[in-house]
Structures are given as C-alpha cells and as structure tokens.
C-alpha cells in the first residue's frame, strides 16, 4: 500500500541507495580474492581467480558461444519434465480430492515413491529411456512429482469449514464448491509445490546428465571439472544458477498474477480493475 502511494522516483532512488552497499561488498570480496590469488596466498589451481572466471564466462558465452546449445537443452529437459510431472501430479491430486476411495488407494504408492530417493533411479531410467533427452525428462518428471502432488492435495482438502458451510447453506453445487472454494484455497499451496517441483526438476535433469549424456550443462560441468578447468566449470555452474533463477522468477511471476489476492499491491490493482468494470456497468 505504501509502495503505491510513494512517488516512483523516490522509490527507485531508494532501491538504488540500498543496492550500493551490497555492490560495494561484493566488489570488495572479489577484489580481495583476486588480490590474494595474485600475491600468492591462494596458490591452488582448484580456486581460480575471479578474472579467470570472468574470462571463462566471456569465452563460453561470446567468443566460442558453446554454452547456448547446452543451456537450452538442459532448460528444455527440465521444463518438459516439469510439465509432465506437474500435470500427472495435479491430475492425481484433483482425482484424490474428489474421491475418498481413489485417495486411499493412491496415497500408499505416492508415499513409497516419496521415500525412495528418486535419484537412485537414474541408472535404471537411463537404461530404459536411452542416452538422449528422454531419460533426463523422465527423471525430472519423477523427481518433481511428489512435492506438487502433496501440496495440491493438501490445498484441495484443507478448506475452511465455515466457508464450506456457507457454500452448502447457499446451495452451491459440487462443481461450484470445487471451482469457487477448493481451487482458490489450494492455489497458494499449489504454487508453493510448483516452485519446489521446478527446482527438483532441474536437479533431475542435471544429475541424469552427469550420469550419461552428450549434451547439456551437466555434461559440460563434469567435462570441465575432470579437465581441471576450474574457471570454466565455475562459469558453467553460474549458468545453472541462471537457469534456476530464470525458472524460479517465472514461477514467482505467475504466482503473483494468478494468486493475486495474497499480495497487497496486486490485490489493490485487481480490486481497482474490478471497480472500474462495475463503474462502467453502472454508467450504462
């Protein structure tokens, strides 16, 4: 609310001012590290200089441009795996929330899947789906299934009793109860699950690439590490961070737009839009 009232200029200035100490600290740390490496306090080839890492990033992204292919392959594997795993998880969760019997028979298997470390399946999945992208997608889907399933189911089942009673006493149909009460109540938890799932899907894709692959950031990473090219492997690691941040903020953005009522500013914007619509209708 205060954000909305404050002039945007001061807001931006405030952000910039806050950002400065962080930037100074980061530069100081990097400078210290570089200095320590140049003076010879850090002699190990295992800890490359920041300038070497910078050079490696420049080489990977600009002069050679090798990273892009691997970057997009890993991104695709993680996203496709996530989409498959998430749709299965949400579908099963919705079905279990509707039918008590179905829930009773699905949950034991979901729990078994949860307590098995999904990563243990990596070699088997590779034997089943081959060395290509299929195995990475499959592992990503398996790893991201459970958090999404559990969160969606919890959200759909945990409904405020008073509200449920209100819906019942107003004569809502089961479909209305589902669409207007259960789904909105479940959305925040669903998104929390999707965020966790997206991270685990990325982990699945990368681990499967470590185990056996020809393309992807994971392969690049292990190749550079075993060549003891530490600067390049740290640069690759940073690209994985970029993929992670990209996925996380996309989800955060969707969360912000779809579950708008949880955030003050978005709620205000949505109610303003609703008010405009209503005023327009009254004016007619």
């Amino acid at each position: 609310m205060t954000d909305a009232r404050m002039p945007t200029g001061t807001l931006i200035l405030d952000r910039v001012l806050r950002f400065i100490p962080h930037a100074i600290l980061l530069l100081l740390l990097i400078g210290l590290w570089e200095l320590a490496a140049r003076i010879g306090w850090i002699t190990s080839i295992m800890i490359p200089r920041p300038s070497a890492i910078g050079a490696a990033i420049f080489k990977l992204y600009i002069t050679e441009g090798t990273i892009y292919r691997h970057f997009f392959i890993t991104l695709t594997e993680a996203v496709v795996g996530f989409l498959i795993g998430a749709s299965v998880a949400v579908g099963l969760a919705v079905a279990s929330s509707m039918s008590e019997v179905f829930k009773r028979y699905v949950i034991p298997y979901a729990v078994v899947l949860n307590v098995t470390p999904g990563i243990a399946l990596t070699p088997v999945i590779i034997a089943w789906f081959g060395y290509g992208m299929g195995s990475k997608i499959a592992l990503a889907a398996i790893l991201c299934f459970f958090p999404i399933f559990v969160n969606t189911l919890t959200g759909l089942v945990q409904v405020d009793e008073d509200r449920e009673e209100l819906f019942a006493s107003l004569g809502a149909s089961p479909r209305q109860v589902f669409a207007k009460l259960r789904v909105p109540a479940a959305l925040p938890l669903l998104f929390a699950g999707l965020k966790i799932g997206l991270t685990t899907a990325l982990i699945g894709a990368v681990v499967a690439e470590f185990a056996q692959a020809t393309d992807g950031v994971g392969v690049l990473m292990s190749r550079f590490s075993f060549q003891l090219n530490m600067a390049a492997s740290i640069a690759t690691l940073l690209s994985m961070t970029v993929i992670g941040l990209l996925l996380f903020y996309t989800m955060e953005f969707l969360d912000d737009r779809i579950v708008f009522w949880r955030r003050e500013s978005r709620r205000a914007a949505a109610s303003r839009a609703a008010a405009r619509t209503w005023l327009g209708q009254l004016g007619k």
Binding site: I119, P123, A211, S225, T241
Partner: protein
C-alpha cells in the same frame, strides 16, 4: 448397569472400526498382489522385455542373492550410510549454527540475503563434479558433497524459525526482565524447534540423494555405485533389489525422524506432553 452397557457399546464400536480397518488392509493387499501378478504374467507372456523390466520373482531372487547368498550389499550399504550420517551431522550443525547467527543479526541477514537467493536457485548437487575434482576421489569429497547438499534446508528453516518470534510473547519476556540468553533459550528456540526439525528431515533425504550422486560419479563403492554397476551389466533385477532397499531405508529414516521429532519437540504431540508432565510429576513427588 448403565456403565457396563456403555463399555459394551464402546467395544462393539471398536470392533467395527477394527473390522473396517482389516477389510481395508485386505483390499490394499489384494490390489498390490494383483498388480504384481499382472506384471509377472505380462513378463512371462513376453509383453515386457525381462531384460529391461525385471520380473517380481526375479527381483525377489536377487534380494535373496545380494542379502544372503552373496551378502555383498551389506558392505556397500554400510559405506553409504556412514557417509550419509557424517555428512548429515556436519551439514545440519553448520546449517543450524549459521541459521541462528544470521536470524538473530539483522545486518548480517541483509547482506547475506542475495547470496542465499542465488544459492537457493543453483542446483546444489551440480557442484559434485567440481568438489570431486578439487578434493580428489575418495571419502573427503563425498562427505563434502553431502554436507553441501544438506546444509541448506536446516539453514533456511532455522533462519525462518528464529525470525518468526511471537511479538507479544517477546514483549512479555522483556517486560519481565528476561536476559538475552533467557529469551533465546526459553522463547526463541522452543518456538523454532518444530520448524528446524522439519528442515532436518528434508536434510536427511537430501543427504541420501547427495551420497548417491557422489557414488554415481566416483563409481567405487557404496550402494549408488552398486546400482550403477548392476544396471550397466543389465542385471536389472539386482538393481531393483538395491532400489527397493533404498525405499525401505528411506521409510525407516522417515519414521526415525518422526520419533526423534516426538522426543525433541514433545509439546507438539499429545503423548509426548503427557509423558513429560508425568516425568515432572514423578520428580516433584518426593519433595512435596
């Protein structure tokens, strides 16, 4: 007479509940057996390639083979579990200590926040090849990977647990002149412990995954490399026996953490509350 009647009612109700429970367990078992039987029959009829999709009977035979006849799984299981245990202790102690330090210090929190966000987005297991290259093949790099993988959940949970102090309770503590240490010991930690324990549970699962990844890359010993070797030899039945071993292990870990949780955060559970108050009553008894 009335009381007896009531007890009788209770007993029939209990019987009915037990009957329902038994019937449900039976139904679950029946479905499970049908699934397994379908799989076995499909495999025998040649619908599923037994080279890739092992038969349940073969998996059972492999269980017998690796546990009793060859007994080779015990060694690898021991190696993996000791690694998981050491890494878990290291990572969770580090996470809890750093988490409470950062949670109690606002300046530190402000400056560490961007790094925490970046670290959270990085798939932490991805550091495994780097650590192996830096620390060499062997136990050290494996433990380092596990520490790194299971550091984060306790850290974040401790942080949020320490920060979410009830403001009214804090005011009460301050009004009564509690020292900083007392506030930490009697207010902040008890409120944070359930959240911290939830983090520990996540960390233990992550530790197992971390150990497996480290073993997949190093391929020397441990249950992870065993699975890898069996799969490479297309001995899928034995690979599945190892994976189901991990399922059982995961289940035991899960239950174990729940029991530990009931002892440490006893006030959250009815039984634990009763137990502790009975103990306190017993301790107070002789004095009064």
């Amino acid at each position: 007479m009335v009381a007896v009647q009531h007890v009788g009612d209770d007993r029939t109700a209990g019987n009915a509940a037990r009957n329902l429970r038994n019937r449900r367990i039976l139904a679950h078992a029946a479905i499970f057996v049908i699934l397994i039987a379908t799989w076995e029959i499909a495999s025998r009829l040649g619908w599923l390639d037994p080279l890739f999709y092992p038969r349940p009977s073969n998996i059972m035979r492999s269980f017998w083979l690796i546990y009793v006849q060859n007994g080779n799984v015990w060694y690898h299981l021991g190696v993996t579990m000791s690694l998981v245990f050491m890494g878990f202790i290291g990572g969770s102690v580090l996470g809890i200590v750093l988490g409470s330090l950062v949670g109690l210090n606002a300046t530190l929190r402000r400056f560490l926040k961007p790094y925490v966000i970046v670290l959270e987005a990085t798939p932490r297991i991805a550091v495994a090849p780097l650590l192996i290259a830096a620390l060499g093949f062997g136990v050290t790099s494996k433990i380092a990977i596990i520490v790194l993988v299971c550091f984060f959940a306790p850290f974040i949970n401790t942080l949020s647990g320490v920060m979410n102090v009830n403001a009214e309770k804090l005011e009460l503590f301050k009004a009564m002149g509690a020292s900083k240490w007392q506030i930490l010991r009697k207010l902040v930690l008890p409120d944070a412990i359930p959240v911290i324990m939830a983090g520990e549970r996540l960390a233990l699962t992550a530790a197992l995954s971390g150990a497996l990844v480290a073993e997949f890359i190093q391929r020397d010993q441990g249950i992870g490399s065993l699975i890898l070797v069996y799969t490479r030899n297309l001995n899928m039945a034995s690979a599945f026996a190892c994976i189901f071993t991990l399922t059982i292990l995961g289940f035991l870990i899960f239950r174990g953490m729940e029991i530990i949780d009931q002892y440490i955060a006893f006030w959250k559970h009815e039984g634990g509350r009763d137990r502790v108050s009975a103990k306190r009553r017993a301790a107070m008894g002789p004095q009064t």
